[in-house]
Each structure stands twice: as C-alpha cells, then as structure tokens.
Amino acid sequence: MSTVEARPRQRHGQRQGPRRDPRQHRGSSVTAWVMLAPNLLLLGLFLLVPLVWAFVLSFQAKRSFGGGTWAGLDNYTRLLRDDVFWRALLNTAVFTAITVPVTVVAGLALALLLDKALPGRGVFRTIVYLPIVVSTLVTSLIGLLLFDESIGIVNGVLADLGLGAVSWQSEGSLAMVSVIVMVLWTRIGFAMVVYIAALQDLDQEVLEAASVDGAGKWARVRLIVVPSLRPTTMFLLVVNMVWSFQIFDIVYVMTNGGPGYSTTMLVTYAYDEGFGPARNFGYGSTVGVVLFVLTLLITALQVRSSRKQDG
C-alpha cells in the first residue's frame, strides 16, 4: 500500500504537461460505473446487506423465519453467561495458538530444507503442497479413516508396534489433536510455497558476505534469513490466524464439536445455534458478530504492525 506514496512525484513529467492524462477520457466516468455495477451490486446485496443485517439480528429474538422481536441486549447477556460459548471461544483460541505457529515454523523449515539443490526436490515439494488442492471434506474423511478408534489406520500401526489403542474419538484433548493434525496437513504446504518464493528474492550477496565473515549456517538463518522474511511471516501469520478462527468443515465432519463440547469452535457453535434444532437466528448471528469483530481485530493489529515497520 505504501509504495504508492513512496514513488517520487513527477513534477516535470509528461503527466503534468499540456497533454491530457491518457486515463482522462470523455465518458470514462460513465464507463467506469457501468464496469463496476455488476460487482458492486453483487457485493452489496450478498455481503454488505447481510453484514448489516447480522448486527440487526443480534439484537432480536428470532427463531427460523418469521417475525423477530426486539430483544435489546438479551443475546449479548446470554453470550456472557453461556458456558458453551466460552468453551467454543477457548477451543478456538487454543486451536489457533497451536496451528498458526506450527504451520509457520514447519513451513519455513521445509522451505529452507528444499531451497537448495537436492535430487528429487521437485517431487518432494509437490508431495508437501499437494494437500492444498484436496478439499476440506476429503481431508476430514481421511482424518476419520486415520483416527477411527476401532478400525483406523493410526491405531492399527500402533497395534503393529505392540502399543495399545488410543482413544482419538472419545477423549476430548485427543480429538482436538486429531483435528489439528489434519489441519496442519492442509496448511503447511502453502506456508512452504510462500516461503520458497520469498527466499528466492533474498539478497544473496548479504548471505555470502556473512558467510565470508565466518557466520555459521544457523547464525545466517537466525540473523539474516529470518529477519528479512518478516513481511512474509507476518502475512502467513495473519491468513492462518483468520483461517483458524473460521475453522468449520474439518471439525464439523471429524468430531462435530465433540466429545461433549471439547472441540466446539465459534463457527460450529454458530452453525448449531442457527441451523441446528434450535434454529435460533438471533443468537447464531450474535456469535457471528463476535467472529467478525475478532477477525477485524486481528487484521487491525497486522495493519498497525506493518505501518510501524514502514517507519
């Protein structure tokens, strides 16, 4: 964003001369609005209207279709006293706190590992980021196959090694582990690819100079590579945080929030409230509003920290 301001102004450039700005063309403003109209219409109707409506619904008592009644802050006071909501928030926070750093660190480690020449490097890279194109539903179903307690592959392998069966599905924290493993499988490849692209832009001369100065490999990574990858890391942290906060598919299919509420997340809870038997549109929307505000906060933090970096 800041590159626009950073560009030197062309005081005497051709733009300022007697010639008209080529972009200024008669009728161009009408054309512009015609070109924008389909997009703005769709975005406005299917995104902005529902966004405003979500806030409206959060102040209503409303089940399914049919008329809602104003309920003031009822939904929000219920939220504060709702143990399941707090559990969902906590679960989402724990899930995010584990998946995000592991994804980013593993992505960087694999990028460094596969950055230099190695036989079969292309094949290795492909295998690691192949899961990117696998849908979350397929990922979840494979997750079930791997972590099924009675006939699953993981317990099968453990049995072959002479170890006992692990209760991946009936014990809360283990169910969370199984979900996290599958999510990591789909995300690490993306982080790796983004890091590999960033590594290629790295200033090779600085690295060579550092190694001439006697910096070891680990020191070069720690003191030069990691700091200069900061913008990439920031980008990956933010997108992964946003994805983690919005986790739904894999949890819904693998555990459906259970056992108990041990893997219930914000979105699975909002879905259960809105589209489960309760069909509580008002309360479900309130959980949605919380999700929106949290996403906004994460993005704001990122924008602030990138501004600070720009000086």
Binding site: D21, P22, H25, S29, A32, W33, V34, L36, P38, N39, L40, L42, L43, L45, F46, L47, V49, W53, A54, V56, L57, F65, L113, L118, G120, F124, T126, I127, V128, Y129, L130, P131, I132, V133, V134, S135, T136, L137, V138, T139, L141, I142, L145, L146, S150, I151, G152, I153, G156, V239, F245, Q246, F248, D249, V253, A270, F275, F281, F292, T295
Partner: protein, 268 residues
Amino acid sequence: MSRPVRFLVCLVVAAIFALPLVAMLVVSFTPREMLFEDGASLWSSDWTTANYTGLFDRFPVGRWFRNALLVAVITTVLSVCVNLLAGFALAKLRFRGRSLVLGVVLATLVVPGQAIMIPQFELVAGLDLIGLFWAVILPSAATALGVFLARQFFVSFPDELLEAARVDGCSTAGAFFRVVLRNARPLIAVMVLIAFMTQWNDFLWPLITLRDPDLYTLPIALRFLQNQYDADYGGVMAGALLSCVPLLVLFVLLQRQFVAGLTRSGIK
C-alpha cells in the same frame, strides 16, 4: 546438514505428507470384509473395485459431478467477468468516488462468510433462490480478492497501450475488449484457478442452501456418503478420491500457475 542427511529427512517428510492420500487410495480398493476384520491398513493383500461399482450403483455419482462442474463453471465465468471489470475500472479509469469504492471493496476482504451465514441465508431464501444453484453461485461471484488481484495487475498495465487503442478510435470499453483482455491472460488464468477451486471445494454454504440430494455438489455429497456408509470406509474413500481427481490432475499439469496464483492470493 549434509546432503545425504537432508535427503533422508526429505524422504521421511514426504512419506508423512503422502500417507493420508495413500491411505485413501488403498482403502478405496480394499474389500469390505478385510476392512472390518483387520481394520484399515496402508496395504491390502487383496484388491477389489467393488467399492467403486457399489458407489455408482447406489448413488447418483454422475449427477453430483455434473452439478459440481456446472456450479463451478458458472461461478468461475461470472466471477472472473465481474471482478475483472471492476478491477480494471478501479485501476485505470478516473471518476469521482473511486478511492471510496476501492476502500469499501477492499474492506469486505475482512468479512468472514461464516460470520454472516444466517442473514445471507435469510436473504437468499427471501429472494426465493433456495433449491436453485443460483443460491450457491450468486453470493460467491463478486469477491474482494478477485477485484484486488485484477486491480494489482492493471495498475502496472502500460497506459501507452490504452492510449494507442484510443488514438485508433476505440472507446474505453472497446480498448478493454480489444487490447486489455488479450494482454491479461496470466491474470485471467490465476483468477479462473482460484474461483474454480474455491467453488469446487466449498462446503458450508452449499450445505446450508442445497438440501436436495439431487442438487448436491461434491463436498456435501461426500458428507451424505459419510452418513450413509458410516464405518464402511471403502465406499467413502472411493467417492473422496474421485472428487479430488480433477483438481489433482489440473494441479500436476499446471503446477507452476497454481503455485504462482496461490502464493499471490493467500487463499486456499
């Protein structure tokens, strides 16, 4: 790390990452009795295609594929058109309110679809779209990401080319269709890939809006299969594998474009 050690580490990592896909492949060809007797395994001593034939006998698999293709193709075409036009206008045309429009469109990047799914559902129901593919297509056509990608591309598009077209007597729209589109192929390729993949794999919104099994797209069809088959993983894995084949093939063929596109977009 010496090179042999690095190679060994890579082998282990690759084995771990390949394991889930191998498991899907093997189990989809494992006989049902073996699965229930010995449990699922990464190798089978006996192979069968019964899981696949059973799947096609019991369920409208072909129909689900047609649905998925239809929905993804229409969404992609619509999405690329509206986002491309908007991105071009925001990058190259001067008009009052441009920065405001740009700001609003980019701000919608931070609105998670999951946060507004209930009012969106009410809206789509109010428009009488439930039970139609349009319920899935229309809300996912215009995207802030698409506009953003298009605008980024067009900002660095040379003005001279546009100017030249105008000197030749083209209107702005004429220049767009004759000159700009021809030079925007890499951009369009990336936008097509992202839009198609996103829609092909989307689950939550079709789950809410497409309630009739005849209308299912692949991810909700898989969810349906999961409930039908329960612990009979063979059939489920056969369906899951088939649903990924198109994207896996595309991915291996167009790896470079995929990687460039995905890296640039930050979307999965």
